[in-house]
Symmetry: C2
Subunit: 461 residues, 2 copies
């Protein structure tokens, strides 16, 4: 069973981490490195480092660990001799899938498909998920434009040499503060930090403002509705403008909660109207659930909070789903082979793990757990921001997917390090926010423990 | 031990494959699917399908299986209880690597680093390897242009909104017939088939002709030298032209053998001069060894056949190396954290497998094996093209990395299916070539077996 609390032996990073960091620094850039982990000793919500420090993990490998470290159900996937060959022989899934692949899709991804989706394409990470979703959108858009899928000889020839009409000037509209990955298509829709984009060429694609809401949302409904209206008008203007520029907006991509960008929210009404604007202009609507999907908002998909019957054309995922990929409406399936393709097309062992994760979620009712824990978390954060109004503001969250703002970037970074030395792993987002991303097995008492330690860290500031 | 030959029970795909294909077809596009595999029963050079057909594999999951199926050394990686936690808990490698990560880099990737390389960045596939290599090149180029790495406030601001000067108009020069991946940066340097690029927007980057050599190379040295000269002149013209256009060529990317594009070769002299042209114009030289790396050409890296002291600035890899990534010269390391970054940054279990692969390669002297087997393969292909001159031409190869042309695309595809039904798995490349990509454990008698069956298939045509 799990540990009963954090246990710190050294400052973090400790001497063993520092020695390993020096060694790794001879091989690659280690400036983003936090510390080295002892994953064998880590358990449940506790991450253990190589110096024997045991920390409560409220960041979970950038929100990618669904049910804690070394969960027995996942350990069994590896030790089951029937699964051995899946780990040893990675297939080219698009050509030579293993026998169990359709079944694992059915009891895995398809069993949690968002409303209205029956088809799914696996990929290996969030970036190739979105890159290929964009490609599916471009193919769909051009097929719609020409009325059929048979390209002209000129289109075929020019496509190979990067020229129109084969490579058309189409665009994806994204939002300020949005994050959709770091490969060059995705990166053209990512607008969080300069350091992620500086010096890298970009497609000339439109970027709309994302609503800057005032918190708590319930107190500023009128002002926030006004702000959302402004952003929606801008979206529509941009779609028209880019159409006139000859770079039609084939798709709109958005996160249900801007996660890397600072845990920024918009209302269900905003998303309903945005989805309608996309439809009106013939643009596909892609909801990026790479960070929000998998249950931590209290529903399996964050976009379910909108309550829409037809929320999206494509929904992409990765991280806590363990495999990357995207669900898509029928019309986004290319009619020919090899248009959406690569060597691995995902990794079937990830689908095996996912099936077990979903079983555990059902057996242990983890969605209810998330709601209960989220309640403790968010109320605790409200308390703390009332106690430390000079340091904290804008506590916000859905389920355990919570965040709070710190007075400035520097203080935020110090607070994260202070909390770490007291035994809590946290991560930042946006310019001055802390994001809380515990696993789905994070219970009320873990939340309480975290709040106590966070309080100590704040008291020390 | 291994099976003693192919054993066919049904046509391929057989009834079980077809039923599974129907099931999977309800979920995703299955037009590129060949058949479903029984990876548990597959062994060494033999791939077994779900209908119990056992085939000699000369394609190896698009050239990505280094030492055959279910090699005992790789099975041990999974069954070793010390490794369990690495499979169960996938880390955010750039922040929280496992203890063994530096060691696995040292006894893995670094132990086979190309001459002159001491640094390596892991990634999860060939596409993110190249995407990030391009980004490293752009960052290096801009740093060089401004003379330092401190961007102006204007650069910082504009980068977030996809505008210059923060997102500069830089380009990567690539070659007709080259393949470097399918995400949108990579895809702008990929020029193989229309179907891979049609309808997808592309960066306006220059594409040079790749030499169209006459085979056998030894017979046409003068003509081929002439053709290579023409292509090199074109490269230099394009670099100048794109510079004048305001889209300077920050880097040149090329495969040592164009693999997807049809196993197209160029001489060591061509690569030496190309590397010199890149250097002269201040462009980085990126050698993409995603398909050629890992030993099948008879040297660990195909570019070693050039015999250069300073062959490249960056060398990217994936497939048989099991992990994606790239080696890079010191000056291609960004000076700040998070410029080259993503959630997973590879997968440490892939590095564990790679260490074992390299041990097996050394213990079993597989590089010598490849040379011996390659000799049998290539001579056999010469024989066959002499026997079937109306069907086959241009037999070519280095080590076991061999190819042959078939009279036309349709005949090529039929020949591949015919060989499959006789128990040999083959793959096409280019418009009318067959590429042979056996594992490194493919021995002389496997080559002989393959040649006999291929001969039968040809006799049937
Ligand atoms: S781009 Fe997703 S794994 Fe490489």
């Amino acid at each position: 069973s799990e540990y009963d609390g954090p246990h710190m032996k050294t400052a973090v990073p400790g001497p063993v981490s520092l020695a390993l960091q020096k060694q790794l620094g001879e091989i690659q850039n280690v400036q983003s490195l936090n510390f080295f982990c002892d994953y064998e000793e880590s358990k449940g919500n506790y991450l253990v480092d190589v110096d024997g420090n045991r920390m409560l993990d409220v960041y979970t490998q950038i929100a990618s660990i669904p049910i804690g470290y070394n969960h027995p159900a996942l350990v069994k996937v590896v030790t089951d001799p029937h699964n051995l060959s899946a780990f040893v022989n990675r297939p080219a899934l698009g050509m030579l899938p293993p026998r169990m692949f359709p079944e694992k899709l059915l009891d895995g991804l398809l069993s949690v498909a968002p409303k209205g989706f029956k088809r799914v394409q696996t990929m290996a990470c969030g970036s190739c998920a979105n890159e290929n979703a964009y490609k599916a959108i471009f193919i769909w858009y051009r097929t719609k434009q020409r009325g059929h899928s048979n390209a002209t000889p000129e289109e075929m020839t020019t496509s190979v040499i990067n020229q129109a009409p084969g490579c058309p000037e189409l665009s994806i509209l994204s939002f300020m503060g949005g994050f959709h990955g770091r490969t060059m298509g995705c990166l053209s829709t990512t607008h969080t930090k300069a350091i992620q984009k500086l010096d890298v060429p970009s497609f000339d694609w439109p970027m709309a403002p994302f609503p800057k809401l005032r918190y708590p949302l319930s107190q500023y409904e009128r002002e926030n509705a006004q702000e959302e209206k402004r952003c929606l008008e801008e979206v529509e203007d941009l779609i028209v403008k880019w159409g006139e520029k000859g770079k039609p907006v084939a798709g709109v991509v958005i996160e249900p909660i801007q996660a890397e960008g600072g845990d920024n929210y918009a209302s269900a009404d905003f998303f309903r109207k945005l989805r309608a604007i996309a439809k009106k202009h013939g643009s596909a609507f892609l909801v990026d659930e790479v960070q929000t999907g998998g249950g931590s908002t209290g529903l399996f998909w964050a976009h379910q909070h909108w309550g829409l019957d037809d929320p999206a054309d494509i929904v992409s995922f990765s991280k806590k789903l363990l495999t990357g990929g995207y669900f898509y409406k029928d019309e986004f399936e290319p009619d020919k082979p090899m248009r959406i393709f690569n060597t691995w097309m995902g990794d079937p062992t990830r689908n095996m793990f996912l099936s077990e994760v979903l079983k555990v979620m059902r057996a242990e009712n983890l969605m209810d757990q998330v709601k209960r824990t989220g309640h403790v978390m968010l109320n605790g954060l409200y308390d703390l921001q009332a106690r430390y109004p000079h340091l904290l503001s804008k506590a916000r969250g859905l389920g355990t997917f919570c965040a709070i703002d710190v007075k400035d970037e520097d203080t935020r970074n110090k607070l994260i390090l202070k909390a770490r030395n007291k035994g809590v792993v946290l991560g930042g987002c946006g310019t001055q926010s802390i994001r809380f991303r515990p696993a789905l097995v994070f219970k009320e008492h873990h939340a309480q423990l975290f709040l106590n330690i966070f309080n100590d860290a704040l008291a020390d500031m």
